[in-house]
């Protein structure tokens, strides 16, 4: 514990956040105890502390994320110099196992919610199915090999700053496209999968994260597409005629309420698709991490700077 607390300059008795659902004051020391239990090294502690602050913000709405019956939990993306300095994985098997920092930071955050906030499964955590990422879900963006600005830069920080972005997400779903050689084709292909995120009948109300792998990103690098161009082209393929997804359409009772007939709506609200570059250097795959209700009535992504 003494060594863990040396991982931060913050004093042990400093209050980090009120932890939902019980809204308990949580000190640096209490976070550190849980970080030890999770298997963190001391140098991970600043990331854990910042992630706890991020998910306990009003915007992230951890109480709702916990209490929902949907299969979601905090997905943590680390940007900036700290990712490499503490040995985080942004490459091969990035969303999987095998890296201590990735595995234990997310785990420590979940333990804080459970042990300190009292958010136990079957208690306030009402998830019908849950997902394996609720054990802990944390990874780093591969910034160095990306031709685009990073997620952190997109959200108002610069490359010299280390940040953690908390996104309320479900488990990752693979997108396979091994034949597209043009950015136009790959964009249509990614859009086709994104249109089914959460449900083909959910539009604008839920966000998503798209993790683009290096070989898919190469299509955009080679063609000179930047993030703005990609998102603009993608948006064109993410529009829905509401008549096609309204209650009763195609014999499916689920769908948009009848009052929304006759409109065109986007799959995602403006800024509702977070794009990250990560993964192994070989493999023509990307991944979609579906979100949960967004906006003031749900959860908004939160990015915080990591300080020592």
């Amino acid at each position: 514990m003494v060594r863990m607390l040396e991982g931060t300059t913050r004093s042990a008795d400093e209050v980090v956040a009120l932890i939902p659902p019980n809204l308990v004051e949580c000190t640096v020391e209490k976070v550190a105890v849980n970080a030890v239990m999770a298997g963190c090294r001391p140098e991970y502690l600043p990331v854990v502390l910042t992630a706890v602050e991020a998910i306990c913000s009003d915007e992230f709405n951890m109480h709702g994320v916990l209490a929902t019956t949907m299969s979601v939990g905090p997905v943590l993306v680390v940007n900036g110099p700290i990712a490499a300095s503490i040995g985080m994985n942004s490459g091969i098997n990035v969303l999987g196992h095998g890296n201590r920092a990735n595995a234990t930071i997310g785990r420590a955050v979940q333990l804080v919610i459970r042990n300190i906030g009292g958010g136990a499964p079957g208690g306030i955590d009402r998830a019908t199915l849950g997902h394996v990422g609720k054990q802990g879900f944390c990874f780093a963006e591969d910034e160095d090999a990306s031709p685009w600005n990073s997620l952190s830069e997109e959200r108002g920080f610069d490359r010299t700053q280390s940040t953690v972005t908390a996104f309320c997400g479900e488990g990752p779903s693979l997108v396979i496209d091994q034949l597209s050689r043009s950015p136009e084709s790959l964009t249509r292909s990614l859009a086709a999968s994104l249109r089914t995120t959460i449900s083909p009948r959910v539009v604008t109300g839920m966000d998503a994260m798209l993790v683009i792998s290096p070989e898919h990103m190469a299509r955009y690098r080679d063609a000179g597409w930047d993030r703005t161009r990609f998102l603009a082209e993608l948006d064109e393929h993410l529009m829905f005629d509401t008549d096609e997804i309204i209650v009763g359409a195609d014999g499916i009772e689920d769908g948009l309420p009848p009052g929304l007939a006759g409109h065109r709506l986007p799959k995602f609200r403006p800024g509702g698709l977070l794009v990250v570059h990560a993964g192994g250097s070989a493999g023509l795959f990307s991944a979609i991490i579906g979100g949960w209700l967004n906006g003031p009535a749900g959860s908004d992504p939160v990015t915080r700077e990591i300080t020592p």
Partner: protein
Amino acid sequence: MSNHQSTRTTVLDPTAEQRPAKRERTARPESLAGLTVGLLDISKPRGDVFLDRVEERLTALGAKVARYAKPTFTKPAPVDLRHEIAIQCDAVIEALAD
């Protein structure tokens, strides 16, 4: 191992070290006649369908019904709303629906 050195072990508690306060349950009313029952809609789709029917049944039993709704089902009921229900009602039923 014959050298018996004394060591001190400190066990740290990973929890909030809180224990819930125990309170007696409010006595259950023998009859709902004349009592005010609050119906809290958490604002999920079709919760109102369930609560409309509950209101009919309660009214038939002679209870007065007061309807309330959370602004959103994704967040806890605001403290003012909880206080309002507590001072205006003798009992409350909450609807979770979809």
